[in-house]
């Protein structure tokens, strides 16, 4: 594939090329879209484990006790009272209550917070946070380009991390994080992910990333660990019903309209976007759709309800695990109920889809 200039490269870029990765542009970075078969990579994460390079994701460091109350005001959620060693899914909103980005906040110490946000929104999130936290004296450091992020996802991931020298990972609860050391390298070990499987995300200094990657590869050799690209990351998160910024969430969508109302707390102290968010009626609803056959409804395809325009598909694919088409859709008009039938205009062909509860894939 021709190299596109002007794109950021992962610290693992040379390793990916040596392993024959196919690349794509994503959020200003050139990243592996797949190493071999994207379906095989998807199935590996569901059955054994997959290894992902997520070094494009924004890493923001917020040292100092003042950052906690600052984040309570700047973001959705209560970050000042979150215990040390916890992580929390959150969003940064506009004053109008729509979504600038979705992100995860980690509390590393009593006086230290850390944020991982989407690559494409790195600059805007860093700038917006710096402005919102300036009043309380907290600083925001964009450390993305000095860092890397590697994920091991799938049922074998605890065993793989143990074999790599991180046995403490297995005891880490869901949405917990801990600082760890491997060969003298400081790591941030997080039990988070974007696949719907047991898994870990490991943040480390940029120069330590190649050795960590190769160590994980070696540790996973007899555990079915498969190198994974962004293509399967997208189908995995879709099956898990998780939103992707720019598809389900954007600046024209509130968290409630984007299907994330669970994270909106009416009783929280004031935060940017709260008043607007709680006073406006949802204009649209995010729903899951399930189809028949093998033809996917894809992002942007129009939705038809009772013969009238009724919104659009935000993400869709033939589910590799379930074997039928699944989609997330932003639906206008009355909130649909599971079981309702709608139609999707699949390249000129009106195709029936049934509204279904999320996530599509229910883990036992």
């Amino acid at each position: 594939m021709a190299r596109v200039t002007g794109l950021l490269l992962s610290p693992l870029d040379a390793l990916h090329r040596a392993r024959g990765a196919h690349f794509t542009e994503f959020g200003g970075w050139e990243l592996p879209v797949r190493f071999g078969s994207d379906l095989a990579e998807h199935h590996a994460v569901r059955t054994t484990a997959g290894l992902f390079d997520l070094s494009h994701m924004a890493q923001l460091d917020l040292p100092g006790a003042a950052a906690g109350p600052g984040l309570d005001y700047a973001l959705l959620g209560q970050h000042s009272t979150m215990p040390v060693g916890r992580a929390s899914y959150s969003m940064i909103l506009t004053p109008e209550g729509t979504v600038i980005d979705d992100l995860i906040v980690y509390r590393l110490a009593a006086d230290h917070w850390f944020i991982i946000a989407n690559a494409a929104n790195r600059a805007v999130v860093a700038a917006e946070l710096a402005e919102r936290l300036a009043g309380c004296g907290a600083a925001v450091h964009d450390v993305t380009l000095d860092r890397a992020l590697i994920a091991v996802q799938g049922p074998n991931s605890p065993a793989i991390l143990a074999a790599a020298g991180l046995p403490e990972a297995a005891a880490l609860g869901y949405y917990r994080c801990a600082e760890a050391t491997l060969d003298g390298t400081p790591l941030l070990l997080c039990r988070t992910g974007y696949t719907g499987e047991t898994g870990f995300e490991i943040a480390c200094p940029r120069q330590a990333a190649p050795a960590l990657w190769e160590r994980l590869e070696a540790a996973g050799r007899d555990q079915g660990l498969t190198l994974c690209g962004l293509a399967c990351r997208d189908t995995l998160r879709l099956e898990a019903g998780m939103p992707l910024y720019g598809h389900e969430l954007d600046r024209d969508t509130t968290p409630i309209e984007g299907g994330q109302g669970y994270f909106v707390r009416a009783k929280a102290a004031d935060y940017v976007g709260k008043a607007a968010l709680l006073s406006r009626e949802p204009r649209k609803h995010l729903v899951g759709l399930q189809g028949e056959g093998r033809r996917a409804a894809r992002a942007g395809y129009p939705l038809v309800r009772d013969g009238e325009p009724g919104g659009h598909v935000t993400s869709g694919a033939l589910s590799p695990t379930l074997g039928y088409p699944i989609a997330l859709a932003s639906v206008t008009g009355p909130e649909p109920a599971p079981g309702d039938l709608v139609e999707v205009d699949v390249r000129g062909q009106l195709t029936p889809f049934r509204v279904t509860a999320l996530p599509f894939l229910k883990k036992s």
Partner: protein
């Protein structure tokens, strides 16, 4: 895998065997499958339908994308590869062989077919 020397190619990455007949067989190239990723659905022209060189005649869907299939030749479809319809993964695993897509009887070739050397050059430039 090299592009087979006995096939002809389109700039849209279809291949065609025996474009002058009596029966032309059509598929997509290995380069196309590499760009698409895993093929999960193929929509092929029906047996008996007419296809026209350079015109859309079907669709190839991968996990991530949909791409239009263009016929390299003009004529009537005489067969489709049911194995590829039932198990599209053979398009990835054997694009020039068992993963063929359809056949056209008494074909007339379009003007723009490339020989293997010209197609190699096209792909080398894209890579």
């Amino acid at each position: 895998m090299p592009n087979p020397a006995d096939l002809f190619y389109t700039t849209d990455h279809e291949w065609v065997a025996q474009p002058a007949g009596p029966v032309a067989r059509v598929g997509i190239t290995e380069y196309a499958t590499g760009a698409l990723g895993d093929v999960v659905f193929v929509d092929l022209p029906a047996v008996g339908s007419a296809v026209t060189a350079g015109e859309p005649c079907g669709e190839i869907e991968s996990t991530k994308s949909v791409s239009t299939l263009y016929s390299p030749v003009t004529g009537e479809v005489t067969a489709v590869n049911q194995a590829a319809v039932d198990g599209p993964e053979i398009v990835n695993s054997d694009p020039f062989g068992e993963g063929w897509l359809f056949e056209v009887g008494s074909p007339a070739a379009g003007a723009a077919l490339l020989d293997a050397a010209a197609y190699d050059a096209l792909v080398a430039e894209a890579e």
